[in-house]
């Protein structure tokens, strides 16, 4: 069964300056969020397969929305992340079912390769609450310049019987990275770590 989507929002942020210094080219991040009906709101279900399938569907839909919003080719994506916020009639495990078993593979297709673990966050919440989506390099988790995050919130979601599912993609790291570590250029991108 596919997701019952009430709403999709896509946000793009472009940073042109940081602490007075020009950032050229601007760093760019996108986050796409879907507000879906929680099929298990108000009930305990042992089998969460339905939510896992929804996760697979949304990994593709939201990943593609981000890449389109950035106006890049999939191969130009550099980092990604995923998050979910469950309305009060659901449970945290619903977020886990959407995010972890099946969302990653279709998302990786949208951003090409993507050997690294997709960093994630999850929480229970209510309309207007902030969801912070962690970001990490898509091919090599240790790339230090790409550890980041993007905030997303919607004033009208998640309602009690809803779940907000977010995917974030960037074409760049932080605006002025200078804390060392593995760089984007030196990453091999084979084992997902380095």
């Amino acid at each position: 069964m596919s997701a019952k989507i009430r709403k999709i929002a896509v946000n793009i942020e472009e940073t042109h300056k940081e602490i007075g210094r020009d950032i050229n080219p601007a760093t760019r991040k996108a986050v796409a969020v879907a507000v879906i009906e929680n099929p298990f709101a108000g009930t305990y279900r042992e089998d969460l397969t339905e939510l896992m399938e929804i996760g697979a569907e949304l990994g593709a839909v939201l990943g593609r929305k981000c890449v389109e919003a950035l106006g890049i080719t999939p191969g130009q994506a550099e980092s990604f992340g995923k998050s979910a916020m469950v309305g009060e009639n659901g449970e945290l495990e619903h977020a886990a079912a959407i995010l972890h078993p099946k969302l990653g593979a279709p998302l990786r297709k949208e951003v090409e390769k993507g050997a690294a673990l997709v960093p994630s966050s999850k929480k229970m919440g209510s309309p207007g609450q902030v969801l912070d989506v962690p970001l990490g390099h898509k091919d090599a988790a240790y790339v230090r310049s790409h550890f980041d995050g993007i905030e997303v919130r919607l004033n009208d979601a998640p309602r009690a019987n809803e779940i907000m599912v977010a995917v974030a993609v960037t074409d760049s790291g932080r605006p002025s990275p200078r804390v060392g570590g593995l760089t984007h250029e030196d990453a091999e991108g084979k084992d997902g770590l380095r």
Partner: protein, 193 residues
């Protein structure tokens, strides 16, 4: 935009498929553009501020152009609004400088846009949120198109910055049924009805 000190731009597009009622054939789409710029008047009282409106014109046009692109073309746009948040070292009056350049930028790109562009403004801290009102572009009394969009960024506006906002929408509220003047019945002459 050459004279502006632009730190950040952000764009937000929402597609609303339903809100618990029957799903219409056409989803409602809303988009917002935000520009975070340095406030040239921050930290002091400056009597003469109107010159800054000239500097804002190209920015307004750029933001409006991007919104039209994001929503699929000028013929898709049925509602609009604008707003400003002024960082704490500025004053509310600085936000009023956005009225002319923000509003006319959108009306320049949109046909049959006789209606005044509704607006909101406030002084806010970093992370402040602004509810930007939306009304029909050609007749302010069209009840189905009264709407709003909440915008904001976690890292703006800083004390010496302003967040300038434009929003556009593609149609009525998703389950519009509160009556009043309908878009199909407007005369479109005075901007009101």
């Amino acid at each position: 935009m050459s004279k502006l000190n632009l730190r950040k731009t952000a764009f937000s597009v929402e597609e609303i498929f339903h809100e618990g009622g029957p799903v219409p054939a056409k989803p409602l789409r809303r988009a917002a553009a935000l520009a975070i710029i340095e406030n040239p008047f921050a930290g002091r009282y400056e009597p003469d501020i109107q010159w800054f409106m000239e500097d804002l014109k190209p920015l307004g046009l750029q933001m409006a152009t991007r919104l039209v692109e994001l929503l699929g073309g000028a013929d898709q746009i049925e509602g609009y609004g604008k707003g400003a948040m002024i960082g704490e070292a500025g004053e509310l009056e600085h936000g009023a400088l956005w009225h002319a350049p923000g509003g006319y930028a959108m009306r320049e790109l949109l046909n049959d846009s006789n209606a005044i562009v509704p607006s909101s403004k406030k002084v806010a801290g970093v992370g402040g949120r602004l509810d930007v009102p939306i009304t029909h572009i050609n007749a302010s009394y069209v009840r189905s198109h009264f709407d709003s969009m909440e915008v904001g960024l976690n890292d703006a506006p800083k004390a010496n910055e302003m967040a300038l906002v434009l929003v556009m929408s593609t149609g009525p509220r998703i389950h519009d049924r509160a009556g009043g003047l309908a878009a199909k019945d407007i005369k479109g002459e005075d901007g009101l009805r």
